[in-house]
């Protein structure tokens, strides 16, 4: 038995010399399909946060590794991908991007007790729940009421016709349910609601015609980027001067590239201040441009914040403390532009900024 001791010693030495196991995080988003622009920007934000943290030495000497999965805008795929990510040993999942995908993926993460931090989802269905979901964005109620107030008071809209995509109903219905009573309470009127399910076969001309029949003084698109572009193009052909408003979901950096002049003058809300000139934000933008050769969007900023929050919580967590407890207990966290502090349900607040597309760029509303 004398040969066992040297073997054990050698084994311990090798273990001691081995590189520490990386901390693994997952990303889940719709990287193919009509919302892939938002998901790709979010993935880039998460990657940037991780790469910068790794350059800075990781967490307690451990590097961070990101595993990316595409939910293809399918509930089944989202649930399966979340289960696979959980089973692969990730500490947290950043994503998904849309509320419907969050609702589809959450049970698998919940079952595996893996924290899921969605950078963007706002549906009221996800608010106030004691689960493993943490939300970086504000709630639909906040945005919808802000929209109602802004457009009633600032842009002066009184009669709004709404086109709503029911494919992401978890978000859109929630948004509508909050907006309509708020706008009506102010004295506004929703002249009509036209729903459609985002797909190739939708006739956006028909949808637009239906909207215009109610003779509104503005159109509100509760839909994603591609569908808003298609709706805007149809609307501009029929009523070039009619004010167009889109929900925050459509506030993609690709909006102009996809919509061209059709989206000129479109009002949206963004969850970050693109006019921010602070050093931290400027460094982020510069690093993003260099790394991805594109402009960061709101999903990039939110995903960067979501990832930073997770990494900070992991760094601050005490021995034996789960990530969920660490996220709840070790805040507040420094986001790029806002301080993030979760309530006991993993919800937080986030300030919105109204912008308008002007000459191919989003410009803040002064």
């Amino acid at each position: 038995m004398n040969f066992i001791a040297p073997l054990l010693a050698a084994g311990l030495l090798l273990t001691a010399c081995a590189r520490p196991e990386p901390i693994r995080l997952g990303f889940l988003g719709s990287l193919t399909g009509r919302s892939s622009d938002l998901a790709e920007a979010a993935r880039n934000g998460a990657m940037l946060a991780i790469e910068l943290r790794n350059v800075a030495g990781g967490i307690h000497g451990r590097t961070i590794e990101l595993t990316v999965r595409d939910d293809a805008e399918s509930s089944e795929t989202a649930a399966k991908a979340a289960a696979e990510l959980s089973a692969s040993g990730v500490m947290a999942i950043i994503g998904p991007i849309t509320s419907s995908m969050v609702i589809a993926a959450l049970p698998a993460a919940e079952k595996a007790k893996v924290v899921m931090v969605t950078p963007t989802a706002t549906s009221m269905q996800l608010v106030g729940q004691d689960d493993y979901l943490f939300r970086i964005n504000a709630a639909t109620r906040d945005y919808a009421r802000a929209y109602a107030d802004f457009h009633y008071r600032v842009t002066g809209l009184r009669r709004i016709a709404i086109a709503m995509d029911v494919r992401n109903r978890a978000f859109t219905q929630s948004w509508l349910d909050e907006f309509r009573p708020a706008f009506t309470a102010l004295g506004g009127e929703v002249t009509t609601l036209v729903t459609f399910e985002s797909a190739d076969n939708v006739s956006f001309a028909t949808v637009t015609d239906d909207l215009l029949k109610s003779r509104p003084d503005g159109l509100l698109f509760v839909a994603g980027t591609v569908d808003v572009v298609r709706l805007a193009q149809q609307a501009r052909r029929r009523s070039p001067e009619l004010p167009l408003v889109a929900v925050e979901w459509a506030a993609s950096e690709k909006l102009h590239e996809l919509g061209g002049t059709a989206v000129e003058g479109l009002h949206v809300v963004e969850s970050y201040d693109r006019s921010d000139r602070s050093a931290r934000y400027s460094e982020f933008v510069a690093a993003y441009r260099k790394r991805f050769q594109s402009e960061p969007g709101y999903t990039s900023v939110n995903a960067y914040d979501a990832t930073t929050v997770v990494l900070d919580a992991l760094g601050r967590s005490r021995s034996g403390q789960g990530l969920k407890q660490a996220l709840l207990a070790s805040g507040p966290f420094d986001g790029l532009q806002q301080t993030i502090l979760f309530d006991r349900h993993g919800d937080t607040t986030r300030k919105g900024y109204f912008v308008t597309m002007h000459k191919g760029r989003f410009e803040p509303v002064r």
Binding site: T67, Q233, G259, G260
Partner: protein, 879 residues
């Protein structure tokens, strides 16, 4: 000292062989590993060169494949530019028709507005809605419009289809013709271009986005690859590393850039064990080595067994010798040392066997049963001698190897095990009950001594059967107990005032001797018509209720009477035979028991006789094993005693009856006698009264005197009879009481003189018969009367007459009558007197067989009468 651990020879050989095999294979592995390390740089170099070659060729092939599509678009643009407006539609449709790779082809005019669109026939999009869309901001459109050359796009989100795709934009006049190629189409082309199946390819666009990928999905997923060092090195034109790690796996990398497409082709070939060929070869070698090792391991026991076989054969023989088995010959083999060992062991075994035979002869010669026992191993029989076999009726073969428990040496195995253990520890002899082959109990004297045989701690048991001796002692003791009990019962019967205690003791003895629960001893009596019935002299109190308890306590002391002949005890009385009932509940002679009566499970009734007369019976109940003739016989001495006691009891009873009758007759006689005395006294009283009346009528003083004297004499006799019937004792008189009444009477009669001459009595308590009392009373009457009459003058002022009576224990009575009067005349002599009184005194003294003396002077006279009475406590005693 710590003993070194032992191993079996075969095991040691097997381990050594196995270790040899492992060492050999380890050496092979080390050598192989060293060779591999030496060759590794060359292998790496070759693989890197190969993967770079493949990457360059792949880029070329993809350029060829996609370049064809580009040329197709260029030709189409040229045709469309020249075609009449009406012919454009058909041409457009042809671009997305069957077999074409494009999902959509559209023409954007100078201002970026879509002028014409062609979709796949199966597309469900509303074509008309797409025309007019503004693509002026579209990156691909702008690049082609600016460069005026065909441009391939990065991966992009199509505003028209909403899908992620790549596109080729070809300038067409002032506009741009754009074809959208689905990523699946690109992947198909890529798979065609790859020749080596080991290769995995990432096509990366200018922004680092993954356009297409072959091989299994990367662990990292669809990440942006611009940050991967190898891509950065390729972009910077730096030398690529020979080896990269992606997702924890090693690859040989190569990057080729397509100038046509402006994409990078990152080609990876698995390195080390990730390479399927390397993995297969490694598995083959490792499998081969493992198989060799396995075969070596499997063969090592066989070879070890073959090598150790001669030793094992010798060991087996030695073990057989140790176990006392016989066999023919010791093994011989090809190894001379082992043969010599075999011969030596054979010689040693023969010596051992001779000594063993000697010991066995001595062992078997012992008359006492002996056994060698493994006491620590559960009392397993190691050996027994012949005496043991005879004692317990089992042969040595049937005994050895089995435990005392298995052999059922004792009916109480655990107690016997504990007792034998104690005997072994203490060295003392003990008595134990063992069982022979027929399960008959044997009382044995048991001794155990520790012995060490062949290094093993064993015990020798020696036993001696003392059953017969013990039985004799027990019988003697039982008889002594019985005899003592019977003797005691008889003595108590004789001495005790209550003879029933003797019966109680006999009954207790019967219950104890027979181990019965309850029983009785009864006398058989006869009704006037001759019917027998039972009267108990002793019975167990089995009262089962308050009512029966009261009844028992009230009647048992005088004996309970049972008259029901239709019963088990009745059968004894009617048949005069012993009755044994093993199942009383179903016995035809049964009479049943009242509700609540303790269960009657067994019954024995035995009659006992005086001559031919049945005078009693004994009843016993509930002996555990029932009753039989042997029990009945054992009770014969007690039954004889019962018979004697019942007979004696009946005689005593008869004697007491006689005494009672006599007492009654005596009482009747006493009553009669009292009546007689009463009447005599009354008659004498009447006579005395008549004489007194007569005297009062007589004038003549002498006559009067005579009558008074007569009355006094009669009175004195009447007082005796009165005393007799009053005191209750009809045959004796208390003289002191009698004389007191008599002197009181005399004092009364002699008034008024007696008021001055005092008559005093000093009498001791003397008792005598009536035959002495009457004469004595007459003597006192005469002497006192004479003193009053003659010793004092009629007017004498004072005087004293004293009557004194005393008695001695010898029966002598002394009566003294003294006065202080004038004294007797000179020359006084009784015989000369003419006085009837004094003559009467003389006569009475003679009647009493006494002596009368007197003396007299001027100061008075004293008479002394001494007489004897029979020395009988009743007749003479001091109270």
């Amino acid at each position: 000292m710590k003993r070194a651990r032992e191993w079996r020879l075969r095991t040691v050989l097997m381990v050594l062989l196995a270790l040899g095999a492992v060492a050999t294979l380890t050496a092979l592995l080390l050598v192989g590993g060293a060779l591999l390390l030496w060759q590794q740089p060359k292998i790496d170099q070759n693989n890197v060169a190969q993967v770079r070659r493949e990457a360059a060729q792949l880029a070329d092939r993809m350029e060829i494949l996609l370049g064809g599509l580009q040329r197709q678009m260029e030709v189409a643009a040229a045709l469309l530019a020249r075609a009449p407006h009406e012919a454009r539609g058909a041409l457009f449709e042809a671009l997305t028709g069957a077999g074409q790779p494009f999902d959509a082809v559209y023409l954007a005019g100078r201002d970026g507005i879509v002028e014409a669109v062609s979709l796949r026939p199966q597309s469900s999009m509303h074509l008309g809605e797409l025309v007019g869309s503004d693509l002026s901001a579209n990156r691909l459109y702008r690049a082609a419009a600016q460069r005026k050359t065909p441009v391939w796009s990065d991966k992009f989100l199509s505003a028209l289809s909403g899908d992620v795709a790549v596109g080729i934009a070809v300038p067409m006049g002032n506009g741009v013709l754009i074809g959208e190629l689905p990523l699946t189409e690109l992947l198909g082309a890529l798979q065609i271009a790859i020749r080596d199946p080991r290769l995995s390819v990432w096509i990366i666009d200018r922004r680092g986005e993954l356009v297409a990928e072959t091989g299994s999905e990367g662990k990292l997923g669809p990440v942006n690859l611009l940050g991967v060092p190898v891509v950065q090195a390729a972009l910077a034109g730096d030398l690529l590393p020979n080896n990269i790690t992606i997702g924890g796996e090693d690859f040989y990398p190569a990057v080729a850039q397509s100038t046509l497409l402006d994409w990078f082709f990152l080609v990876r070939m698995p390195a080390g064990l990730n390479d399927p060929d390397v993995r297969a070869n490694t598995l083959l070698v490792v499998g081969g080595l493992a198989s060799s090792l396995l075969i070596g391991m499997l063969l090592s026991p066989v070879v070890a067994g073959w090598m150790s076989q001669p030793i094992r054969a010798i060991t087996a023989r030695a073990r057989q010798i140790a176990a006392g088995q016989t066999f023919e010959g010791w093994p011989r083999g090809p190894i001379s040392e082992l043969n010599a060992l075999s011969v030596d062991l054979e010689t040693m075994a023969n010596h051992l066997r001779d000594r063993q035979d000697q010991f066995r002869a001595v062992f078997n010669a012992s008359p006492l049963p002996m056994a060698v026992v493994d006491a620590a191993g559960g009392n397993v029989m190691v050996d027994i001698n012949e005496a043991w076999g005879l004692q317990f009726g089992r042969s040595r073969e049937l005994t050895v190897g089995r435990s005392a428990g298995d052999l059922r040496l004792s009916s109480h195995a655990s107690e016997f095990a504990a007792a034998s253990h104690d005997a072994l520890q203490t060295g003392e002899r003990i008595e134990v009950w063992l069982l022979d082959e027929d399960r008959s109990p044997l009382l044995c004297e048991f001794a155990a001594r520790p012995v060490a045989i062949e290094g093993k701690a064993l015990a020798i048991w020696v036993i001696r059967d003392i059953t017969a001796k013990k039985q004799t002692e027990e019988l003697l003791r039982a008889n002594n107990v019985l005899l003592e009990g019977v003797t005691r019962a008889q003595r108590e019967f004789i001495l005790d005032t209550d003879p029933r205690r003797g019966f109680d003791r006999i009954l207790a003895l019967l219950l104890e001797t027979t181990a019965s629960e309850y029983g009785f001893i009864g006398e058989v009596l006869l009704e006037p018509d001759g019917t027998p019935y039972l009267k108990t002299h002793a019975i167990t109190n089995i009262a089962w209720s308050d009512e029966t308890k009261d009844w028992f306590e009230k009647n048992a002391p005088t004996g309970l009477e049972f008259r029901r002949l239709k019963s088990l005890f009745g059968a004894v009385m009617t048949t005069r035979q012993t009755v044994i009932a093993d199942d009383p509940a179903h016995d035809h002679r049964r009479g049943g028991v009242p509700p609540g009566h303790p269960p009657l499970l067994k019954f024995l009734g035995i009659p006992f006789f005086h001559g031919d007369k049945m005078i009693g019976m004994v009843g016993l109940a509930n002996r555990a094993g029932g009753y039989d003739e042997a029990v009945t016989r054992s009770l014969e001495p007690i039954l004889a005693t019962c018979s004697s006691l019942v007979l004696a009891y009946s005689l005593v009873r008869e004697r007491k009856l006689g005494e009672e009758k006599l007492r009654n007759a005596l009482a009747e006689k006493e009553v009669l006698l009292k009546e007689v005395y009463h009447r005599v006294k009354n008659n004498l009283q009447v006579v005395s009264s008549l004489l007194g009346l007569q005297s009062r009528r007589v004038v003549d003083s002498s006559a009067k005197q005579l009558l008074d004297d007569g009355a006094n004499r009669v009175k004195s006799m009447a007082l005796v009879h009165e005393q007799l019937y009053r005191v209750g004792n009809l045959s004796s008189i208390d003289l002191r009481e009698y004389l007191k009444q008599l002197t009181d009477n005399l004092s009364n009669v002699n008034r008024p003189l007696s008021t001055r001459v005092m008559l005093r009595l000093h009498a001791e308590p003397v008792t005598t018969g009536v035959e002495s009392a009457i004469p004595l009373g007459l003597v006192v009457n005469e002497l006192v009367s004479n003193a009053y009459r003659h010793a004092y003058a009629a007017d004498a002022p004072s005087g004293s007459i004293v009557v004194r009576l005393s008695g001695s224990p010898e029966g002598q009575v002394c009566l003294e009558v003294r006065d202080d009067g004038c004294g007797l005349p000179t020359g006084f002599a009784l015989e000369k007197l003419n006085s009837l009184g004094l003559q009467l005194v003389e006569t009475l003294a003679q009647q009493l067989r006494g002596t009368l003396t007197w003396d007299t002077n001027a100061e008075g006279t004293r008479f002394l009468l001494r007489f004897g009475v029979e020395a009988h406590p009743t007749y003479l005693q001091r109270s």
